[in-house]
């Protein structure tokens, strides 16, 4: 008896048995959707997150591990709006997994259910790294997460009808806790309304819109371009006319430029988690907003 066919048979059997009652494999591009998928899917999903919270989501490479995980995924949860344009299409093409190609039920884009802000008025690369469809960093506003949760839960139910009731009840539970949390956060963040801030990267559009923060300036001369000394000097001049309370940067960014400005403009430098896991406090979705608000309140005090 030749050993190779037997080996292949054994492999095929193992694969068939594994597929029969496995948890839904979720490939999330960023930690916030990984956390949300886990909240909604419980132990019926197996979540893999493609990026670390300390990684700039714009700059990701189509690493071998990502291709392998996309190959075995049943559902890809992406942000969309071109956030992942530099790597996800390549990963999906190389993985060849037919279930998760754009357009199939196994491909979900969070921005498809959210009205995007910050649509560029001028579509030109001379404006830096602009996102033609609008700002993709929708996780700044928890109300967006609520919208995404509703659609994502539906998608889970569609992909795994056998566990639909389970996903429904998890969604209901999450949704009620989430809405209560939003109400609480909005109350706590009330003093932040109208507070002027400077941002390092224009990645907080939704957070500002939600809490009523006022963005006075950005340290990056154009989105995605490193702050230059001449631009920082301009920002400093702006702050003399229009003072801000704090300068805000994401955990994945170097604080150099922010510290430089904070020191000279005598304002606080606030690091925000930007996503789940960005700071110790932001260990889950709830902690992410709680920590963000606490840090902003400290900055504004």
């Amino acid at each position: 008896m030749p050993s190779i066919p037997r080996f292949i048979l054994a492999l095929a059997l193992a694969a068939a048995c594994g597929a029969a009652h496995a948890a839904l494999g979720v490939f999330a591009t960023v930690p916030e959707w990984a956390a949300l998928s886990q909240e909604l899917g419980g132990d019926k999903v197996r979540v893999y997150c493609a990026t670390s919270p300390l990684q700039d989501p714009h700059h990701v490479q189509a690493r071998p591990s990502l291709i392998a995980r996309a190959r075995t995924a049943d559902l890809v949860v992406a942000t969309g709006a071109e956030l992942e344009v530099g790597w996800l299409p390549l990963v999906l093409q190389q993985a060849g997994n037919d279930k998760v190609q754009p357009g199939s039920p196994g491909y979900f884009e969070a921005t498809s259910v959210v009205a995007l802000l910050g649509k560029p008025t001028r579509l030109d690369r001379a404006e830096g790294d602009v996102h033609p469809q609008g700002d993709p960093h929708i996780q700044g506003d928890p109300r967006n997460v609520a919208r995404v949760a509703a659609a994502l839960s539906q998608r889970l139910q569609q992909l795994d009808p056998a566990d639909a009731a389970y996903f429904q009840s998890r969604y209901r539970d999450f949704s009620s806790r989430w809405n209560a949390a939003i109400a609480k956060w909005e109350q706590e963040a009330a003093p932040l309304k109208g507070v002027p801030i400077v941002v390092q990267h224009k990645g907080f559009t939704y957070l500002e819109a939600w809490l009523g923060l006022k963005e006075v300036a950005a340290l990056e001369p154009k989105p995605g371009m490193e702050p230059t000394t001449s631009h920082l000097a301009e920002v400093l001049a702006t702050l003399q006319r229009q003072p801000a309370k704090m300068v805000v940067h994401a955990a994945y960014q170097s604080d150099q430029a922010s510290e430089w400005l904070g020191e000279r403009a005598k304002i606080r430098v606030v690091m925000l988690p930007f996503t789940v896991g960005g700071t110790d406090g932001a260990k889950d979705l709830f902690g992410f907003y709680q920590d963000t608000i606490e840090r902003l309140l400290k900055g504004a005090a």
């Binding site: 300390l54 189509a62 071998p64 591990s65 190959r71 093409q93 498809s112 259910v113 009205a115």
Partner: protein, 470 residues
């Protein structure tokens, strides 16, 4: 009118879909209220978006399609989910017929070269050359400019076309392939003309290379880059450990093979790659591949035993093995501020057949059996020491191995010289779409021939956003 109806519907939905907690406490009622508020907000937003979409649709019937397709390389053929508040509706930059335009990108590539030796005399001692080898032109020259189109063709196929425009004003088709989507077993079949999956660097276009020129081993064994006219099948194993297997058959007309005017496959390639992450900050990729092809009168002019040029033609079988390794480091996986990449490849080649030799001044040729076993490789490291700036070193070395000229040993003597080259480069990339590079290399490719090669190169990319290959 519509608005009110939809709002009523939304309320009805909200009431029926709400949690079944009618005997609820005050706290629970508050929660339900908050939920309904949220639902109301979301439905209002949806209704508003729907109205906007309706307006847009009336204004221009094609706009809806334009928004759905977004004219991108991989547009979803079906609209995303229920997409109630489809944000881009009516606001997409392309409309109508343009909505189906493929993603287009152009690469502008040019250089200034200062070469201490005459590039026409540049050759790797002991190796039969072919394809596109050498340090290029002296002075200012346009590098290879590139024009690329890609799009989904229909639900079954996607396609790519990449032209290369050389400084000599000739246009060549660098790649032109289709990919069959949704193939059985999640395999990815590719057909047409494409860069072979052989080795690591071969599939990458020269504008993404970390150095201006190809490693010596690529020049010696593949004539620069190995292009395949044929079909390729790749398959990624459904395991958490990345394992990719691939195979190709092609007509084999590219160096080290030649067009042999025959039916069937002229060349075959098999390759396997594996890789993964080590912690948050390290990732790696390793591969092995094998190419088998054949040549019929593959011509080259090499110096004979007395240093005069002799025209030679190789006919026979050429087999090439490759092992490659890439290791990347980026703190927490974020390469933005600093990162390091170590990359190395090694080739082994065996050629068996006949060599026809036309010694200088001879009136007839002699043909005798020929065997060669040669090898070579490179290792390079690229360090991004601060945002936008990278520094790199590369070392190339070829092993002339053993060459048996048979009866032609009267005219030709095997070389024992090891061609080598050391290169350093510094590049600056103000954005993802532009790069300026200064490179210096010292190439000792044949005895007594040391070429000091300076390059100043620019690479500008226009149009569609390319993907970052690992």
């Amino acid at each position: 009118m519509h608005r009110r109806m939809l709002a009523a519907l939304a309320w009805a939905l909200a009431l029926t879909c709400g949690p079944n907690a009618w005997a609820a406490s005050d706290a629970e009622l508050d929660q339900i209220r908050a939920q309904i508020q949220d639902l109301k907000r979301s439905y209002e937003a949806r209704i508003k978006a729907l109205e906007e979409r309706l307006d847009a649709a009336e204004a221009e019937a094609a706009a809806a399609k334009a928004a759905a397709e977004k004219a991108q390389a991989a547009p979803p053929p079906v609209a995303q989910a229920p997409a109630p508040s489809a944000p881009a509706a009516g606001a997409s930059p392309t409309r109508g017929l343009a909505a189906f335009n493929p993603a287009i990108s152009a690469i502008l590539n040019g250089q200034y070269a200062n070469l201490s030796q005459d590039p026409n005399r540049w050759r790797m001692a002991g190796f039969l050359q072919g394809g596109d080898v050498g340090p290029g032109k002296r002075g200012f020259s346009l590098g290879e400019s590139e024009l690329a189109f890609s799009a989904n063709v229909d639900p079954l196929f996607s396609g790519s076309l990449i032209f290369s425009i050389t400084p000599e004003d000739t246009v060549s088709v660098e790649e032109a392939y289709g990919i069959l989507k949704g193939a059985p077993f999640d395999a990815v079949p590719k057909f047409g003309r494409f860069f072979s999956g052989l080795g690591y660097l071969n599939e990458q276009h020269n504008h993404v290379w970390d150095f201006t020129d190809a490693p010596l081993a690529y020049q010696a064994f593949l004539g620069g880059q190995y292009q395949q006219n044929g079909v390729q099948l790749t398959w990624v194993a459904p395991t958490d450990q990345y394992l990719m297997l691939g195979g190709e058959v092609g007509n084999g007309d590219a160096f080290p093979g030649t067009d042999r005017n025959k039916n069937g496959a002229g060349s075959g390639v098999v390759f396997a790659r594996t890789g993964g992450d080590v912690g948050d900050s390290h990732s790696w990729l390793a591969g092995v591949s094998y190419l088998q092809t054949g040549a019929g009168s593959r011509e080259d002019t090499i110096p004979d035993a007395s240093g005069n040029p002799a025209l030679v033609g190789f006919s026979g079988r050429s087999r090439l093995w490759n092992a490659s390794f890439v290791w990347k480091w980026a703190p927490h996986g974020d390469p933005h501020y600093t990162n390091f990449k170590l990359q190395g490849e090694y080739f082994w080649r065996r050629e068996d057949g006949d060599l026809e030799v036309f010694p200088a001044g001879a009136v007839s040729s002699t043909t005798a059996p020929y065997t060669s076993r040669q090898a070579g490789g490179y290792i390079q490291g690229i360090y991004q020491f601060m945002p936008l700036w990278r520094f790199g070193l590369r070392y190339d070395r070829l092993d002339p191995g053993t060459v048996d000229y048979g009866a032609n040993a009267v005219f030709l003597t095997p070389s024992s010289f090891h061609p080598e080259r050391s290169t350093a480069m510094l590049d600056w990339s103000p954005s993802e779409f532009s790069r300026v590079r200064l490179q210096f290399g010292q190439a000792k490719v044949s005895p007594g021939f040391t070429d000091n090669e300076w390059y100043l190169q620019y690479i500008l990319s226009l149009g569609a956003h390319g993907a970052h290959i690992f």
